[in-house]
Every structure is written in C-alpha cells, then in structure tokens.
Subunit: 332 residues, 2 copies
C-alpha cells in the first residue's frame, strides 16, 4: 500500500523553516517592553527547553493554560458572553411574550441592564439558561458564530474578537514555537469559545476547557443530535479550574496565565508541581488604552491573587507599563 | 532575545525522515491480512488525505476515536479495571475489618467473585467507589502504575498492558502518520487509563476520554491536592460517548472504532457527519487465540451495533480471519 504524505511533508518543512527562522528572529515578543515580565517569560522558556538543564521539561509535558476573559481578551464593561446573552434575550423576546412581565427579562427588554442583573449570580444563571440551552450543539455554534461576526463592543465599536491582547497572541505563538501545547481554562462557556479560539488564538477546540451545561444525545428523524439542557454541568472557575485541568488535560501545567481571583487556584496548582514553573497575572492598570481595575471590581476581581503573587514572587504584568500596544489594530 | 529551538528541529527532522520513509514502506499495517477491513481503512485514509479530492479533510479535523476495552486491549474474562478493583479490595481489606461480613466485600474476600458480582451494576459501583475514591489524584495514579507493573492476566499470565492488539497499535500509528489525532473514548475510568496510554498506545493523557468520579480541590499543609470523591461525575458509555466526545474534543470524529453496543452511539455520531467517514467494529471471533463472544456476552455485548453495521455497511473486523496476529508478543 502506498502512503501519500506530501501534505505532511510540506507542513513539516514549513515548520522547520519557521523554527530555523525563529532562532534568528530578533524578538518574538515585539509588543512586550523589555521589562521584568518579558524577562521572566523568556528566562522560563529558556530554562525548560534547554536540553541537559536541570529545569528541562520534555515537549509532551510543556502544558500552558490561559484564562480567557481579562487574560486573552477584554472583559469590560461586562463579560463578552454576558453581552451575547443579553443580545440573545432581545432576539428571542418575540418568542417569549411572558418575558415582558417576568424579571430579569422585563428589565432587560426595557434596556435597564443594571436592574436586570441586580439579582446577582442567580439572575445571570437564569439568563444564561434561557439563551444557551434548548438547541442542538450545532445550532448553538452557528448562533455564536453569527453574533461574533456582527456584534460590536459598546466602547470601541470593534468586533469582540478584535479586542484580544496583541502581547498575549505573541506569547501564545512564542510558547508554541518552543514546543508548548497551549490550552484555555476559562470560567466562560466552553461552547461559546470553541467556535473561534482556533482562528483567533490558534487554540483548537480540544484544547479549550470551560464551564458547561449538560447535553443529551438524541435521535431526531434518524439523525443523532446533542441537545443542550438547561442544567449546569461544570463551573470552571476558582477551585473548579484545577478540577477542569485534571479532567480535560490530565497533566499539571508548567505555566499558567490569569488576571483575577478566579485564577488563583489554577496558579497555585500549577506552581505546586515539581521543577521550574511560571505563574503570570495580567494586571489591568491602563485606564486610557484599556481599563484599570482590580480589588474593587466585580468583573475580573483581583485581590487575593495579587497578594499571593507578591508573596510568592509570581510575575505580574502592569499593562500600562509592560505592554507597548494592547490590541492587534494598533500594530504598525 | 535568542531562541533555542535545537531540540524542536531535531524532532522535526526525525518526523520528516519518518514520513519520507513511510511513503516507501511496503506496508504500515503488517499484522492485517489483505482482506476487506484493511482495504476499507487504507481507502478511507487515502480519500481524506488526498489534497484536491472531494473527500479531503484538513489535518486539524482528522479526529479518530477509539474505544479501549475489547477494541485496543482485551476485556475477558472480566474488564481489566474490574480485576484491578478486586485486587484493591484484597489489598485494602486489613484496613476494613467490616468488609469481612459486608457484601459484596465478604464474598470477594472469600474468593467467590461470582457471588460478589451477583448484585450487578450497583455492586460493581460500590466496589469501584471503595477502591477508586478517597485518595488524591497523584496517589491513585501511583496505585494504577504499581498494579499494572505487576498484576498478571489469569489466562495468559502476561501483564495486562501486553494484552493490547498489535493490529490496532499499527492502525493508531498509521492514522497518526497520516495526520490524524487519535483519542480514546472509553467507558473505563479516565484516571485508570491515563497513566499508561501514552507509553502503550502513543495517546497522551489529554486525548483520553473516559468515565470519571468527581474530584475536589483542597489545600493540605499548604499544598494543593485534588481529592477523588465517591461520587460519579460522568459515565462515558453508550449515549454518553458522543456527550464525552463533545465535551472533551469539541469536534465530531471522522473515524471511530469500537467493539460493542456501548460504542453504537459513538459510531452513529461519527458517521452522521458530512463527508467521508469510517466506522469500524472489532468482532471477537477467535476462541483460540483470544475469545469468541458477541450477542450473548455481558462483557463486550455486541448485538444492536452488529445489526447496524450490517445495515449501514460499517466495517467489521473478524479477528480470526482478518488479523495475522493478536498480541505484540507474537511478532516475529
């Protein structure tokens, strides 16, 4: 039997050329200033990739996990997935006349988001279930794709997928060029992220870990479908992140990246492993180019994790002073 | 900053050489006879890898899922994980004096496995919880490693990891050489498989999907651990397999391999996608070299899936007549 690996060979050659190139590249992290965080990243990668070094880590174990909201893309003035849910409430309202008098939907439809969300987590859960369940996985994927192709951020007027952080895109590439497998480990919905993470971050669906609702296998007209049920399956936040990492990846990361207290346990879990580890927190300090928030913010609340970072010597990125640019659109 | 991609380059060169070699190799499936199943596999792979062909599938979407028990390794006279659990009951008995009078443990400890398992699924669950929960994930991994390094199969006297099917090992390699990402999707415990699938099958932990119990993040003496709880999290069998595939992989496989009715929904889910698909069932027909069982067997029960295979034209491997050898030890 003859095998036809032509495509594989050309891909491999391409990879080879890229790698040779990389070794001579002046800088693979051009949007990072030459400050402490960049030095910490480069030093860490050199240590774990240098063969014969006591810190050397085989390629298979070079697992890096990234939070998404506030770490890879922005999260203000509200988590983007919540903006998606609110848009879905508006789109679905004609099919739900009862929402006109039922909270939180009534307030939402009147445009009073603040009143609608006053009920806190329970209310948000209700909105998520009303907008994320009841369809097949394929239908939901299409809804997400359609929304992302057209919805605009209220402050910048840009597509949400344009509000990713250019320095973090470079960091993802840099790690992958050094043999790392990059994963998302986010409190956001796993099926909300998967339709676009490969294109935007180079992270394929099978390397996305997130919160989920239950699904059920059904035959419909002789065709199998997975139906999304209005029932929480898993919350991938705080102490749930190491659980999600264990469940999906089955190895402990050697590097983890977050921006809030929701990432604290992931950073603890990562750094508690043997050998050289990297824990990095993106600190939102740039009120002008992005947003400035930490201990007092309900979105991206960063308090305990910031204290631990100081106590443990984790790397903290000061967005204002460590990043040359924020968004890809600023590239020259 | 200088990057040191030496190791990556040598790995890449090695891969390149392997691929060039592969294209001239007379046969990458040497343990398969030149019968229909081998032809179906080779034809399928040629179709989906031929660029420009209407059946062409990009590398990123070449997802292949494999059941484990009875598909990649043997499963008689009982699922190997059950043998592990029974050995654990014996090992733990001194710490559980109450087991001397409590079923199913009392019968087990007297050596009467049949009486012990008479309670069916509920009993097995009880045994699994007593033996698989209550320790950290790291402790459990070590217990599994230790058991596999020493426990012997009652019939063959071999290590359980030696009772994998040589033709399937070749199939895994063949698919990977053609750009496929290979996953296990098994009813077996995910943490029971992960410690050894990379070494035995070349399938890394992050590509293993299985049944699971819940885990809980805890700090113990300032060190984070994941504790295994006596509570079912997910059963990756039957209609659970497409759910597990969706949850862990997030893409539909284009090829799936199973051996029992527990794999039926995975095969349906796989073949219902657009384009060229491969569904294959390993039929245990070789009472001499392995075991012969199907419709009447409680272990590896194969009835509905065999009917569907005939109706839908899925590939069925007749182990006796399609495989030259069964186990790696028979290689010359």
């Amino acid at each position: 039997m003859r095998c036809k690996p032509k495509q594989m060979i050309s891909k491999t050659l391409l990879l080879l050329l890229l790698l040779v190139n990389a070794s001579f590249a002046a800088d693979l992290l051009p949007s990072w200033k030459d400050t402490a965080p960049k030095k910490a990243i480069v030093t860490f990668v050199e240590q774990v990739t240098r063969e014969g070094s006591p810190s050397f880590v085989p390629v298979a174990e070079r697992i890096a996990t990234f939070d998404n909201d506030g770490t890879l893309w922005a999260e203000q003035p509200m988590y983007f997935q919540l903006a998606f849910a609110l848009d879905r409430v508006r789109a679905l309202a004609p099919q739900h006349p009862e929402w006109r008098t039922k909270e939180p939907f009534a307030s939402l439809l009147k445009g009073d988001v603040k009143a609608a969300l006053a009920g806190g987590e329970k209310t948000i859960l209700e909105i998520v279930m009303a907008t994320h369940a009841g369809m097949t996985t394929e239908e939901f994927e299409q809804i997400v794709r359609d929304w992302l192709a057209s919805a605009k951020h209220p402050k910048t007027g840009r597509l949400y997928t344009e509000m990713v952080y250019q320095p973090m895109l470079e960091l993802l590439d840099f790690l992958r060029a050094n043999g790392f497998k990059t994963f998302i480990v986010s409190g956001g919905g796993i099926e909300f992220m998967r339709p676009w993470t490969e294109k935007v971050y180079g992270i394929p669906p099978e390397q996305v870990v997130g919160s989920s609702i239950k699904t059920k296998f059904e035959m419909r007209d002789g065709k199998p479908v997975l139906v999304r049920l209005p029932e929480i399956d898993f919350i991938d936040d705080k102490a749930g992140k190491p659980v999600g990492i264990n469940s999906h990846i089955g190895r402990r990361p050697i590097a983890a990246f977050g921006n809030s207290d929701g990432d604290l346990e992931m950073l603890q879990w990562t750094t508690a492993g043997r050998g050289t580890r990297l824990a990095l927190i993106v600190h939102h300090t740039d009120a002008e180019r992005e947003w400035a928030y930490d201990r007092e913010s309900s979105i991206g609340h960063l308090d305990k994790a910031l204290d631990q970072a100081q106590a443990k010597g984790w790397t903290v990125v000061d967005m204002k002073n460590d990043w040359k640019i924020i968004y890809p659109v600023e590239k020259q």
